[in-house]
């Protein structure tokens, strides 16, 4: 039976990988590319981890699968955002389709896998899955206890620890860099050990693993990874950090070699990144700009926050809700990652928000203002493109998307924090997402030693389904990338098309437990007292 291995390299870009392969740091990957096919992989809008990996898993665009950001609006007109979960993935994934065809999948460290979706195989969730609750996310339910028996199993270093992860966006002290890089180097080893264990104990037709340290290192250490930014005469500390980064990729190359070797020579191996990477120095304070356009008002009179120099970490969840004066705000940016602006709709009494008849005018004025914005020092445009919601998020989930999405010129990123100026600058260049990711593949029927024209991220799912001998559903937006395949290449069809032509949500929610719970009068008073003490009831 056809076996396929998908190796996700979060944020990988050829700008970084090519010099590492050419310089002998990643010899296994270099040889694998020589035996297979490579292409630039065009990400979705915006090129962001949750929507991009979901598009890769489903072959659909964000407006079609329902995931736009790390956070999701409670309802289309709500000001409250909640954390995006697997329930928001409203389309079949490649592993759910494989399962419907009777194929087994092992899926490790992919985002939006909590609460765990039904899966024919084994699952350990990734993304922002906290290590303290990793047990809840593993499937089958007993898997976590089996993994605990592995000699090197350490959930704290395998999964998400907020105290460490925030450094990727908020920056960390110079003396913390090396420990942080080494943590991610060890983390990739731990994920690989689980992968190899499952390959032995739970053989699967389709195995997928995501290495997310690539993204993390590139965010924080971009200036040590981008050859064009390398210091001519590095200080001893810069030299150490540079070596540690190189060591991460050297170790990763070795882990990839172990994984590919364990799959055997007949397997199809696919590498993909959710987006690419590039440098960033400028910061566009989108809510400060909206304030100056008369569209947003801050609550209170606290002035700019002292920490308004970097992006918002996840511990700032829902900050915008209490930082803005909702009586006087008609447009706001909720998260930096979405690069989006939401236009406030009227409340039921019609006293605040933009009425329907004024919506087009307000949206057009915002677009005009954004496109006319110039950098105060260079005079250059700040915004390269602005997309209206229906331009890029058409589909059944369009109402949940931002009304406007921006792409900034050059190396700028969005911040939603309150600032004294519309534009700011980082003390040192960091890394940020770019649309151009990577695609590499090797296996039966795949071109050898070829570099082919750019592919879409949406094409990865059809490629994987094809390699597994599965039919490609008609409703995917991605298409089988024929330029990556030898003429006439067609794997033996091993499964029937049962069920896969009907879109199915990745997750079937179980019936809530205790939905009809009741309290007696005493308990009710206790509830009200506690909620009141929390400030929940006022």
């Amino acid at each position: 039976m056809a076996k396929t291995i998908l190796i996700g390299l979060d944020g990988a870009t050829f700008t970084v990988l090519d010099p590492l392969m050419a310089g002998g740091v990643m010899p296994f990957l270099r040889d694998l590319v020589a035996e297979g096919v490579r292409a630039t992989l065009r990400s979705v809008i915006p090129p962001l981890t949750p929507p991009a990996w979901t598009s890769l898993m489903t072959g659909k665009r964000p407006g079609e699968h329902g995931v736009f950001d790390f956070f999701q609006k409670e309802t289309p007109n709500s000001r409250y955002f909640r954390f995006t979960t697997s329930h928001d993935v409203q389309a079949a994934t490649i592993w759910s389709m494989a399962g419907e065809c009777g194929l087994r999948s092992n899926v490790l460290n992919f985002p939006l896998m909590f609460p765990p979706p039904a899966l024919n195989g084994c699952l350990v969730p990734g993304g922002w899955m906290p290590w303290r609750q990793l047990r809840l996310g593993c499937r089958p339910a007993a898997l976590f206890d089996r993994l605990k028996e592995l000699p090197s199993f350490n959930p704290r270093e395998l999964s998400h620890d907020m105290a460490l992860e925030e450094k990727v966006l908020e920056g960390c002290a110079a003396e913390e860099y090396l420990d942080w890089i080494m943590l991610h180097t060890r983390r990739e080893r731990r994920w690989t050990e689980i992968f190899l264990y499952l390959m032995r104990e739970e053989p699967a037709d389709f195995s997928a693993i995501l290495f997310d340290g690539v993204d993390k290192l590139q965010h924080l250490c971009w200036r040590f990874l981008d050859p064009s930014l390398a210091p001519e005469r590095p200080t001893p500390w810069e030299h150490e950090v540079q070596s540690a980064c190189e060591n991460y990729f050297r170790e990763l190359d070795g882990l990839i070699a172990e994984i590919v070797s364990s799959a055997g020579p007949g397997a199809t191996v696919v590498f993909a990144s959710d987006h690419g990477f590039g440098p960033t120095s400028d910061i566009f304070y989108i809510n400060t700009w909206l304030e100056r356009q008369g569209r947003l008002a801050w609550a209170g009179d606290r002035g700019a926050r002292p920490d308004a120099t970097h992006q918002v970490g996840i511990n700032q969840i829902a900050r915008h809700v209490f930082e803005m004066d909702w009586e006087r705000t008609t447009a706001y940016g909720a998260t930096p990652s979405s690069q989006g602006i939401h236009i406030v709709r009227p409340t039921s009494d019609g006293t605040v928000g933009v009425p329907a008849e004024a919506y087009d005018r307000v949206r057009d004025e915002l677009v005009e203002g954004l496109m006319g914005l110039r950098h105060p020092e260079t005079g250059r445009p700040v915004v390269a493109e602005v997309w209206a919601r229906d331009d890029v998020f058409a589909g059944p989930f369009e109402p949940w998307a931002p009304d406007l999405t921006v792409r900034l010129e050059g190396d700028a990123v969005v911040s939603i924090l309150r600032s004294d100026s519309v534009m700011g600058r980082r003390p040192e260049p960091a890394g940020t997402h770019r649309p151009e990711g990577v695609f590499l593949a090797r296996g039966p029927g795949v071109h050898r030693g070829a570099s082919v024209a750019e592919l879409s991220l949406l094409d990865v799912a059809p490629f994987v389904l094809h390699s597994l001998g599965m039919p490609i559903p008609d409703d995917l937006s991605g298409r089988l990338p024929l330029q990556a395949l030898e003429a006439g290449s067609s794997p033996r069809r091993v499964v029937k098309a049962t069920g896969v032509r009907t879109p199915v949500a990745a997750v079937m929610a179980p019936e809530p437990m205790g939905a009809d719970a009741a309290l007696d009068a005493e308990e009710e008073q206790l509830v009200l007292k506690r909620l009141s003490a929390l400030g929940y009831l006022e």
Partner: protein
């Protein structure tokens, strides 16, 4: 099946006790145990725990809950297991067919 406040509390305590076995936390977990101060959970832990509880008990106003929590000064920002259970039971009362059970 109808769950009482006591039953929900017991179930959440059981869940937290099971999880804390992976954290090298040896103290007894009670309704008064603070999730941040005692169990060293962070904001993301709260968000994910909220997802798990909604999986078990249905939709909760968890975003508003976190937003209100976020208004508190950092050194006073915490939540006990009992308060989480109150949130669950309060919401179930609000959404019960016909109003308050």
């Amino acid at each position: 099946m109808t769950f009482t406040h006591k039953q929900v509390l017991e179930e959440v305590l059981s869940l937290m006790t099971e999880l804390s076995g992976d954290w090298e936390y040896s103290d007894e977990i009670t309704a008064e145990t603070r999730l941040l101060g005692d169990l060293a959970m962070d904001s993301l832990d709260l968000v994910i725990l909220g997802s798990e509880l909604q999986e078990r008990y249905g939709q909760l106003p968890f975003s508003e809950f976190l937003a209100e929590l976020g208004k508190q000064e950092a050194d006073q920002r915490d939540v006990t297991i009992g308060e989480l259970v109150d949130l669950i039971c309060g919401q179930q009362r609000a959404t019960a067919p016909g109003g308050v059970v």
